[in-house]
């Protein structure tokens, strides 16, 4: 048995995304990871991730089709996915620990190596203990990426355990920075085969009675999908790093085209698209078929891009997820004086040390990024109805409400479309191009 799949990969500067479609154009799976220096690894990871998610989706389809199982599929898959993620995380943590020890073998640590290594063990043990809490049903994770979760935990324990004589906080940070690079640039595959089994056992072991009553059927649903072959018929790449994707040229499309088409596929009435990605902001006008008629991109400056908020989140040791929520608690937005991202970061620190509230400063920073987007939109031809906002920043509630306020002020009432999956817009457009190419081949 096999299922045919079309893939779109959007290699952005901050995150790399993938979308897997079946032959009817239905979305089966999505994958996302943080972009790292090895683009090939990044695209391999999201590809793998999208295929893993496709398998979960196929399990869901199989369950929904089975009258005995339909109705419990969402809860079951939810639990299965959480257990799967936890297994995956633990595996990476183990690799990180090995790599940290390997890095600590460098000559510079020789005088205090014993202490440093002992410290690493303590930190990693503490990190391991915390893993289940990241993946519990009600957990609010700072980020979905191993890098961010591991970094936050590591830094916390490192600060707690470090002593300035033998294993300073600075040295421990340096070790982490070196090790995480190595961990991230190693691609693992076959994740579904490796982790689906243990995840299934854990899910069943902790399952409520109604799951256990169906144990045999659940097992066979998972098993049947596990043995399924996923045949990738075509892949199209886009995004900032597209020139370096390991694909032939004809499988590469510009990000403007992909975003136009992706936004059109999500909301057919779209005429203006604002995409705020990691390192560029695009204002795009499209016609009724999703074809781009004009566009503007920001200049070579991070202020006004997603990286701006990413940088601020790093400054505050927060995940990108948390930034917008925190800004929404603001009662009195602050006006930010700096334009430059790095200076805005310093201004943030200054304001914090002077006792200003985090939410108020963050609200000001969100407004600042949207003011830059508004001027780009104006240059591309304004905002026509309907207006679709895409890219990673569209997931940020504070950014969205700042945008809504500014749009209303400048253009009056406009329908604003935002898909919860808007970060995948480019990847979706790319996957649709892949589907078109495959259909074209079939027709010929």
């Amino acid at each position: 048995m096999s299922v045919e799949i079309l893939l779109g990969i959007d290699l952005g500067s901050t995150t790399t995304k993938a979308i897997a479609l079946d032959q009817t154009g239905r979305i089966l799976g999505r994958g996302i990871t943080n972009t790292r220096s090895n683009y090939e690894v990044a695209s391999q990871i999201v590809r793998e991730e999208a295929l893993v998610q496709s398998r979960f989706e196929l399990v869901r389809h199989a369950m929904a089709a089975d009258p005995e199982l339909s109705g419990i599929e969402n809860r079951f898959i939810g639990s299965l996915v959480r257990n799967f993620r936890q297994q995956q995380h633990l595996e990476q943590l183990e690799f990180l620990e090995l790599t940290l020890h390997h890095c600590a073998d460098a000559p510079r640590y020789a005088p205090t190596r014993e202490t440093v290594k002992e410290m690493l063990n303590r930190i990693c043990d503490a990190m391991r203990l915390r893993v289940p809490s990241h993946f519990s049903e009600l957990a609010v994770r700072k980020s979905d990426f191993f890098r961010d979760l591991a970094a936050a935990d590591y830094m916390q324990f490192a600060e707690q355990f470090s002593d300035s004589k033998h294993a300073s906080f600075d040295a421990l940070c340096g070790l982490f920075d070196a090790a995480i690079l190595e961990v991230e640039n190693a691609a693992g595959d076959g994740a579904f085969e490796r982790h689906a089994g243990p995840a299934l056992e854990r899910t069943l072991a902790t399952a409520p009675a109604d799951f256990r009553a169906q144990e045999a059927r659940l097992r066979s649903a998972v098993e049947s999908v596990r043995s399924l072959e996923l045949r990738v018929l075509g892949t199209v790449g886009t995004g900032y790093g597209r020139q370096r994707l390991p694909f032939p040229k004809e499988q590469i499309r510009s990000e403007i085209l992909c975003h136009g088409l992706g936004a059109h596929a999500m909301f057919a009435g779209t005429r203006t698209v604002l995409d705020i990605g990691g390192q560029d902001t695009k204002a795009i006008q499209v016609d009724g078929t999703g074809i781009v008629t004009s566009f503007q991109m920001n200049d070579r400056c991070a202020a006004g891009c997603g990286r701006y908020l990413g940088y601020i989140a790093d400054e505050l040791n927060l995940g990108l997820h948390e930034l917008g929520r925190l800004a929404q608690e603001s009662t009195c937005s602050v006006k930010i004086n700096s334009t430059c991202t790095v200076f805005a970061g310093a201004e943030l620190r200054d304001r914090l040390s002077l006792g200003q509230k985090r939410p108020d400063i963050l609200a000001g920073l969100h407004r600042a990024i949207m003011l830059r987007a508004m001027s780009l939109l104006a240059r591309s031809g304004g905002i026509s109805d309907e207006f679709t906002f895409t890219g990673g920043v569209a997931r940020n509630p504070a950014a969205v409400s700042a945008l809504q306020g500014l749009v209303h002020q400048n253009y009056g009432a406009r329908t604003l479309n935002i898909s919860p999956e808007s970060i995948y817009t480019g990847a979706l457009g790319a996957a649709l191009f892949a589907l078109r190419a495959a259909d074209g081949r079939n027709a010929a």
């Binding site: 830094m155 600075d170 790093g241 991070a302 940088y311 430059c340 991202t341 790095v342 040390s353």
Partner: protein, 284 residues
């Protein structure tokens, strides 16, 4: 021995930068030499600044075996508002000038390269600032930028300089924005360019900017590098190369304690102010 201790005083300087806090403890004799007793550098790395300052200060005193009540004057410089136990504050430019002249007598100009700003100033032999120029409100080519790049490359900050010196084909840095240049670095790594060549390319682009800054104040003598980046041998060499390339009559100098110039300068000015205050009190 005892009398010497009596007519000399101890002063401390705390230089709060945006990425590290530098501490200096000096002894200043009434009509005699000034000497540095202890130096300490504490990188902030997103910790609570007030705590970093307190702990670094205590560590500095401990290193010299001195108690806080023996310090006649504690001076802050840089972003010193959080040094709540200070006696007074001195503006960054005057402290860097003072510290640089103390460490490298004979200089005629100072370039202070910190995490966010770079400042070039012409000074006289008594460390008075004659003219100065700063970089603009954009972090292109700042120390913070270099620190971020190092972190991305998985390199300890102190290895940046030596690695840069090993470069064979420095890679020109195309992007101007500090944050987007980081992405360029990711791109360079993925193109297989060595870390040495990347770092040297960045150093050269920074050096180009600083050379321009120095020209704008008509520096034409020995130039001292101070600030957080003074310890970066790669930047020092790149600056020398740029100056040679433009056939300027400057000579760049650095000192093992250059990064502490601000803290040392603050401590020395603090001791001076303490003496002046003590004298006026006696007169009154």
């Amino acid at each position: 021995m005892k009398s010497k201790a009596e007519d000399s005083i101890l002063a401390a300087g705390v230089d709060v930068g945006s990425s590290a806090v530098k501490f200096a403890l000096v002894r200043v004799a009434e009509y005699g030499p000034e000497s540095v007793l202890a130096l300490h550098n504490e990188r902030i790395r997103r910790r609570e600044l007030r705590k970093v300052i307190r702990e670094g200060y205590d560590a500095t005193l401990q290193e010299a075996g001195v108690r806080q009540n023996e310090i006649a004057y504690t001076a802050s410089t840089g972003e010193g508002e959080l040094v709540d136990f200070r006696c007074g504050h001195f503006y960054g430019m005057t402290t860097h000038a003072r510290g640089a002249v103390f460490l490298m007598p004979g200089i005629g100009a100072v370039i202070d390269i910190g995490a966010l700003h770079a400042r070039a100033m012409r000074v006289d032999e008594r460390s008075r600032v004659l003219s100065y120029r700063m970089t603009s409100q954009c972090a292109s080519g700042s120390g913070q930028f270099l620190e971020n790049v190092a972190r991305y490359l998985g390199i300890m900050l102190e290895d940046v300089g030596p690695l840069s010196c090993e470069a064979k084909n420095p890679e020109p840095v195309s992007s101007i924005c500090a944050v987007l240049a980081e992405t360029d670095v990711i791109n360079m790594v993925s193109r297989g360019i060595s870390r040495s060549d990347i770092l040297k390319g960045i150093h050269l682009s920074m050096a180009g900017r600083y050379t321009k800054l120095l020209r704008s104040i008509d520096a034409c003598s020995d130039v001292a590098i101070t600030g957080g980046l003074a310890a970066d041998i790669g930047l020092y060499r790149a600056l020398g190369e740029k100056i040679a390339e433009e056939k300027l009559t400057m000579r760049v100098r650095t000192h093992p304690h250059s990064i502490y110039a601000g803290a040392i300068g603050a401590a020395l000015w603090g001791a001076y102010r303490h003496r002046v205050l003590a004298r006026t009190e006696v007169v009154a």
